[in-house]
């Protein structure tokens, strides 16, 4: 299955790159800075077509085209973010990812995050027992504490200091705001960030969660509960040591 999915991702990336420079049709979703383009929709349709041909019984949970309410916990579910970091895609023509994840009865099996313009594909999970960058197996990052590393941060959480975001940032070596969940997950998987604190939807975290857990790291949602896979929610992903430091800020009410 992984071979087919990697093929779809590379083919989707070629479609995206061949259209760079063309006029985009940009629409707003939930506000001025929450954008969707014709390319997001076309790439999701392309990937959905591939999935339907490969496994007609699989379900799809995806950001675009009204496929955002599919439950995660029954059967095989493909979770798709055709362009993660749409604002970067529109404004920068770089710093965006294609993300796909495969869950079986609610259990993550394979995650894929492709940084299109850097041509770096991170993929793996329980089905293959490893995580790879392109064809090279990645070692688990060191289990660094919060004070030893950089942490990815959602700008609004930080500005409003929700969920102790500013204390978390101040305890770390520094925050980074990249505007693309996939790039934060890539940094964690590579070991260049020790965590990520944000508000995310299932398609934002589905692939990254699988690879982080495969590498011995932890993700949680609000009130230290598992992620719900239902709507946008508070998200922390970190090394185990950094997660313990973050949770210590407020055991009762994170």
């Amino acid at each position: 299955m992984e071979k087919e999915i990697i093929g779809w991702i590379y083919e989707a990336a070629e479609k995206i790159k061949s259209g760079l420079g063309d006029a985009l049709k940009v629409d707003q979703k939930n506000g001025r800075t929450d954008l969707v383009t014709n390319v997001d929709k076309e790439v999701q349709d392309f990937i959905v077509g591939k999935i339907n041909a490969y496994d007609p019984d699989a379900l799809i949970l995806g950001e675009e085209n009204g496929q955002d309410q599919t439950p995660i916990d029954k059967g095989r579910v493909f979770v798709i973010d055709p362009i993660d970091g749409t604002l970067n895609f529109v404004m920068q023509q770089e710093n965006f990812c294609i993300m796909i994840a495969v869950y079986e009865d609610g259990v993550g099996q394979l995650g894929f995050i492709y940084d299109v313009m850097q041509d770096e594909l991170f993929w793996g999970g329980p089905k293959v027992g490893k995580v790879f960058l392109n064809k090279e197996e990645l070692a688990a990052p060191a289990n660094q504490s919060l004070s030893e590393g950089l942490i990815g941060m959602n700008a609004a959480l930080y500005r409003k200091n929700l969920y102790h975001a500013q204390e978390i940032g101040q305890t770390s070596m520094g925050i980074r705001v990249l505007g693309c969940a996939g790039l934060d997950f890539i940094a964690i998987i590579k070991g260049t960030q020790i965590g990520y604190v944000s508000m995310l939807s299932p398609w934002d975290y589905a692939a990254g969660k699988i690879m982080m857990e495969q590498l011995g790291m932890t993700v949680i949602g609000k009130n230290q509960q598992p992620l719900s896979f239902q709507g946008r929610e508070f998200f922390i992903g970190a090394t185990q040591a950094a997660m313990a430091d973050i949770q210590a800020f407020d055991k009762e009410n994170l």
Copy 2:
């Protein structure tokens, strides 16, 4: 002169890259997250040696090795940041730059920003009348307003909401925190950010200022005064339209 400087930069980058993976000697300067390594110092010494051999009369204003107090306004001054983004260099082994600028009697003539791991050299200024990415001339970015683009931001300014940093961020399409002034200048020069709001030292902004101005963009310091080239100071760099929007937040007391 530019040919020689480009040669020094590539040679310095090879030194840096050949040492990646070696144990770093890391010291703190002004606090836990303000780091300097043996590599910063060695690279500054290497570049200073090249400058002294090329032009023994030139002065040097540089981040390391006690060369940080040289005045900008008399004779030829080389402004050097051997590794801009030292924290990224230590934590990530990527997302750092080598920066060199040449000023003549206080007037910027040539700026160079090299993203070492991406192998992208941005350089130019009045002496050559253009700005280049490697060998390709860059067009001036569109004169976008604040509400039309992404803006680079210093995390502490944003957290404390100094100088209207949060209002500026909220009016923009979004903030980015990259942890490396050189990367913010590169984004502005490429047209993928419309500006940058930060606290910077002369070696952080010397090269970027020259290239931004060459491309028709504007930089200012505190109270809408020119940058002082003396110590760390408030900095705004932006397209002309975005600068007007930023200045409108508080004409009296930016």
